[in-house]
């Protein structure tokens, strides 16, 4: 029967442990499917009647946008949930003219491309953080503004 010295056993155990830890760490760090939500939002200082079919964004987002931008009311035009696999960019159409392309570069790291009328407007690479939305916005007609709000969610 082969005998293993204590030092050799310890060395073998440590190296095996290191390999296991490395495997777990790499598995945890590997990109997984990202679950995101994109909202197309319209900001204005005028109140729009309920019959217009617009609904205001939730109060939390409303307050945050109001504290950053000058507009007082923010209406949600479109809301779409989607998933971004590790190796497959996703295209999400938010309106006839507004489309975003999201690509996962690494864990929680994405590239967002905003297209207006089919033309690329801006491309952004960023690290997604929970509860920290990415807001892409611009001014619009009649002293209004449009916003694309991308947040990380649990469910697509």
């Amino acid at each position: 029967m082969t005998t293993i010295s204590k030092a050799r056993f310890l060395k073998l155990a440590l190296m095996t442990g290191a390999v296991m830890v490395g495997t777990v760490v790499s598995a945890l760090a590997a990109p997984v499917e990202l679950k995101l939500q994109a909202q197309l939002v319209w900001g204005t200082n005028e109140k729009v009647s309920a019959e217009a079919g617009f609904k205001e964004v939730d109060s939390s987002l409303q307050a945050r946008l109001r504290n950053v931008f000058k507009w007082q009311t923010y209406y949600e035009i479109t809301r779409k949930g989607f998933s971004v696999p590790a190796a497959k960019p996703q295209t999400v159409k938010l309106s006839d003219d507004c489309t975003i392309e999201v690509k996962q570069l690494a864990t929680n790291r994405i590239e967002v491309k905003l297209l207006g009328k089919g033309r690329p407007v801006v491309t952004r690479t960023l690290e997604l953080r929970p509860a920290t939305p990415l807001v892409i916005g611009g001014d619009d007609k009649n002293n209004t503004a449009w916003f694309v709000v991308i947040t990380q969610t649990d469910k697509p």
Partner: protein, 172 residues
């Protein structure tokens, strides 16, 4: 034969013969005059040597010999191979932790590419007329990219979807 007798006589004088042979030698000395004369001669020689032979001769050490000893010792030490420097690889824990550390570094390099502390960090503006402003609101915890249209205020993104509905509502 004669030599053998002489050797026995010498051994007898030194007290090295067994008792039986010693008695034979003593008889020869008593009966053989030549042998007796030889015994007397050897006994006298032995007594002379035993009384005058110095126990230990001490040779005085000269100055040159003293320094030559020092020189030889120095040369001997210089010829000895220098003890090998203790390699860091000789420690068992270094031999174990080195591959583990290398593996961890490789995992970190593979698993954490382009990881930076800040959030949004790169903007490529494709609209010539626009000015892009980017910032992070720490109070509201949001990353903001603001695209300001310098031309006519009409964004290419959302205006066709947004403006008609409020207008229709106003008309109603």
């Amino acid at each position: 034969m004669k030599l053998d007798r002489e050797m026995k006589l010498q051994a007898w004088l030194d007290g090295e013969l067994p008792a039986a042979e010693a008695r034979e030698v003593e008889q020869l000395i008593a009966t053989d005059g030549e042998f007796s004369a030889l015994a007397g001669e050897l006994r006298m020689t032995k007594s002379i040597l035993a009384g005058n032979e110095p126990d230990e001769v001490v040779v005085p050490e000269s100055r040159e010999f003293y320094f030559s000893k020092i020189s030889r010792e120095i040369e001997r030490l210089e010829r000895q191979p220098a003890p090998a420097a203790r390699s860091v690889w000789s420690s068992w824990w270094v031999r174990i932790l080195a591959p583990v550390g290398a593996a961890a570094a490789m995992v970190a390099l593979v698993a954490l590419p382009n990881r930076q502390g800040s959030g949004a960090d790169e903007t490529e503006n494709s609209v010539q007329e626009s000015t892009v402003i980017q910032f992070h609101s720490t109070t509201e915890k949001m990353d903001v990219i603001w695209i300001h249209s310098d031309v006519d205020g009409t964004p290419d993104v959302s205006s066709p979807d947004l403006t008609p509905k409020p207008d229709r509502n106003d008309n109603n």
